[in-house]
């Protein structure tokens, strides 16, 4: 009885031992993966910070202005002059609407057979 129990205990302890070691190695593995990922994120954050700095440099007016000046001739561009700005008051007013009442009366008289132009032409002697 005792012997069987001992055999069982020995086997179970060997099993548990291997289980514990497997867990230990798995954890160590995960930890090293984590470290590698942290290092990767760190280096990528570093690259990102450099790219952001690059972008900031490229966006500076102090960086763009010399480029504009360099290509001033080729692109035929110049700083804006005051005279180039218009104002709302300078925009012409909408043209006057046609006198629809006069047109209506003209068409009505034409329909009625009276041609006012014809009367003028006759008066002038042009036929």
């Amino acid at each position: 009885m005792i012997r069987n129990l001992n055999i069982f205990l020995i086997f179970s302890s060997v099993l548990m031992l291997s289980g514990v070691y497997a867990l230990k190695f798995a954890i160590e593995n995960t930890a090293s993966e984590r470290t590698a990922l942290i290092a990767l994120i760190d280096s990528q954050e570093g690259d990102l910070s450099l790219l952001k700095a690059d972008e900031a440099v490229l966006n500076q007016p102090g960086h763009i202005d010399p480029i504009v000046k360099r290509h001033q001739l080729a692109l035929a561009i110049e700083p804006v002059k005051q005279e180039q700005f218009g104002s709302f008051t300078a925009i012409p007013m909408r043209p006057a609407k046609p006198n629809s009442a006069a047109m209506d009366s003209l068409f009505l008289s034409l329909e009625a057979g009276i041609d006012p132009i014809d009367a003028i032409l006759e008066l002038e002697g042009i036929e």
């Binding site: 760190d42 954050e45 570093g46 500076q60 007016p61 005279e83 104002s87």
Partner: protein, 569 residues
């Protein structure tokens, strides 16, 4: 029992032997127990000892977190980065882990030949846990050193401040030291506020910090910087500086001072003469101070815009006579006093106000103390506590007292915005916030009259050079040519020139002060007075920045007519 013992003596001996063996076993067990207790005690003691050790996480006296800590990015008012953090590798060594110092020294010097050999050997020898070798290197160098495979030589990623605008906003931003702590400018001010606390707590890591928004507009800043650089060469000046503020909120839109430095190389900030002339430079303001005298007198009611002043003869104070530069020597109206920049007329205006009231007005304008401002580089103005008769007379046209250009721009802003003094700031501030700081210094009526006088001076007076360039932007201003004191007397050839201005005067939004120090003639036809240099620079700046600031040109003469006070129409 004793009889038995006598008969069986050998049994007694047998009993003794068993007893001896039993005793021996017991003694062995005791020794074993003692050995085990001692052994475990030793292990336990060591554990307690290890538990008491405080691990040294500092790097040469500084917390590791403080070194890897980041600073918040600084943005201009349009969200453009003015300062960002970049991650850079820094080389350090753990001397106690280095096996062969000579080999390590030789190998490191193949990549970093600038390091001195004895210094490096000394650095790597010993039992220290951490020493810096070289900080803020490039990723390429990191790669090459890692390839060498020296044990005990490692890299740590540090945050380094980078200023993409280079020297353009140097005096606003200031700079940081190698430990990423602000040592000048707004960087230092930020540390004083909250970044230092975050770093101490080890929280300021990653990019989690909210960016700091400044009131500066980098486009305007660029134009101002560029024009000042141009002025330095055009007029062969020894220095030039300028500042522009929003008159309603006190926000500084641009601030530049030349010669300047590159904040990416903080050592260049130590060069002589590269100090911030706007905040830390105090100068005799010269005639731009006449605006202050006139504003005070008009506001007090002692003089009115229609008054006449006798400027026929110079004013005598004992042995001295104060006269005009280009004297008209006739009776001048108040607008003429301003237009012709008459010293005599200004003294008469000040005298009408009374020197005590005039001195009181200077105090109310904040000319006795530093301007409340974020930059740490500040100097106290020197304005005499008590003004003598002659002292008050010279002070009325800006001599015998020294103030910073920032004082002047804050005063000009108050004069044109309706009469409210608002302390300037480098942080974003909206109208409602700014109104809490408002302090009335002159009346609304006097403010309108000052706007008219400034515009008049641009149209007919010393500001006409400036107005030529900035035509249509309704700018007005006052020139100031202050002679420098050389060997105890005023020198006619060495002058400091100022131009204080505001635009667009029909609905003023910005005030500006430009300074050009010791300018020479641009060509034989021009002069060295302020209108030729500081004024012209102002005009060119306004011409370029007004469209950026959303100000459309308007050539209508009606606008200038409307600026004329009703009394003079």
């Amino acid at each position: 029992m004793s009889v038995t013992a006598d008969d069986l003596g050998s049994t007694i001996a047998l009993d003794g032997g068993r007893k001896v063996r039993g005793n021996l076993t017991q003694a062995r067990i005791r020794w074993m127990v003692l050995a085990l207790v001692l052994g475990f005690g030793l292990v336990g003691g060591r554990l307690v000892q290890l538990g008491m050790v405080v691990p040294d996480t500092t790097i040469e006296g500084q917390a590791r977190d403080a070194i890897t800590a980041t600073r918040p990015p600084i943005l201009d008012r349009n969200g453009l980065e003015m300062a960002v953090d970049i991650r850079v590798p820094s080389l350090y060594a753990e001397p106690r882990r280095i096996i062969d110092v000579e080999e390590a020294v030789r190998k490191i010097r193949t990549v970093l030949p600038d390091l001195s050999e004895p210094w490096l050997r000394d650095r790597l020898t010993g039992d220290k846990g951490f020493v810096w070798v070289q900080r803020e290197l490039s990723p390429a160098i990191e790669d090459r050193i890692m390839r060498l495979g020296i044990p005990g030589v490692e890299f740590l990623t540090e945050s380094k401040r980078f200023y993409p605008g280079m020297s353009e906003a140097s005096h606003i931003l200031g700079s940081t030291n190698v430990d990423n702590q602000g040592i000048a400018g707004i960087e230092r001010h930020m540390d004083g506020e909250n970044v230092a606390l975050l770093q101490d707590l080890g929280l300021a890591r990653g990019n989690a910090l909210a960016p700091v928004e400044l009131s500066v507009d980098m486009r305007v800043q660029h134009v101002m910087h560029e024009q000042l650089v141009d002025a330095m060469s055009r007029y062969q000046a020894i220095a030039a500086a300028g500042v522009m503020v929003d008159i309603h909120t006190g926000e500084v839109i641009a601030l530049a001072s030349l010669p300047d430095f590159d904040p990416n190389q903080p050592a260049t900030a130590l060069v002589k003469d590269s100090f911030n002339r706007i905040t830390a430079g105090i100068f005799e303001p010269g005639s731009i101070f006449k605006t202050v005298t006139l504003a005070g007198a008009l506001s007090s009611g002692a003089v009115s815009i229609t008054d006449q002043f006798d400027a026929r003869f110079g004013i005598r104070f004992g042995r001295f006579t104060i006269d005009d530069f280009h004297g008209k020597h006739r009776i001048l109206s108040l607008p003429e006093v301003y237009k012709y920049s008459s010293n005599i007329g200004t003294i008469r205006v000040m005298q009408a106000m009374g020197k005590e009231a005039f001195r009181q007005f200077l105090t109310s304008m904040g000319f006795d103390a530093r301007v409340p401002f974020e930059l740490p580089e500040m100097r106290l103005p020197t304005v005499p506590k008590e003004l003598s008769e002659v002292g008050a007379a010279t002070a009325s046209f800006g001599h015998g007292l020294s103030v910073s250009p920032l004082h002047m721009v804050a005063a000009y802003a108050a004069f044109v915005n309706g009469g409210n003094y608002v302390p300037p700031t480098l942080y974003r501030r909206d109208q409602a916030e700014a109104e809490q700081f408002y302090r009335r210094v002159i009346t609304e009526r006097a403010s309108a009259q000052i706007r008219y006088l400034m515009r008049l001076n641009a149209l007919e007076g010393s500001g006409s050079q400036m107005n030529k360039a900035a035509l249509g932007y309704r700018i007005g201003g006052k020139t100031g040519t202050a002679e420098k004191v050389v060997d105890g007397r005023y020198s006619a050839s060495k002058v400091t020139n100022f131009f204080g201005s505001a635009f667009p005067l029909d609905n003023p939004r910005y005030a500006m002060v430009i300074m050009v120090d010791e300018p020479k003639r641009e060509n034989p036809q021009s002069g060295t007075t302020a209108g030729w240099n500081a004024g012209a620079v102002t005009g060119r700046i306004v011409q370029r920045v007004a469209p950026m600031l959303g100000i459309a040109p308007d050539f209508s003469p009606l606008i200038d007519e409307q600026l004329v006070p009703p009394e003079l129409r």
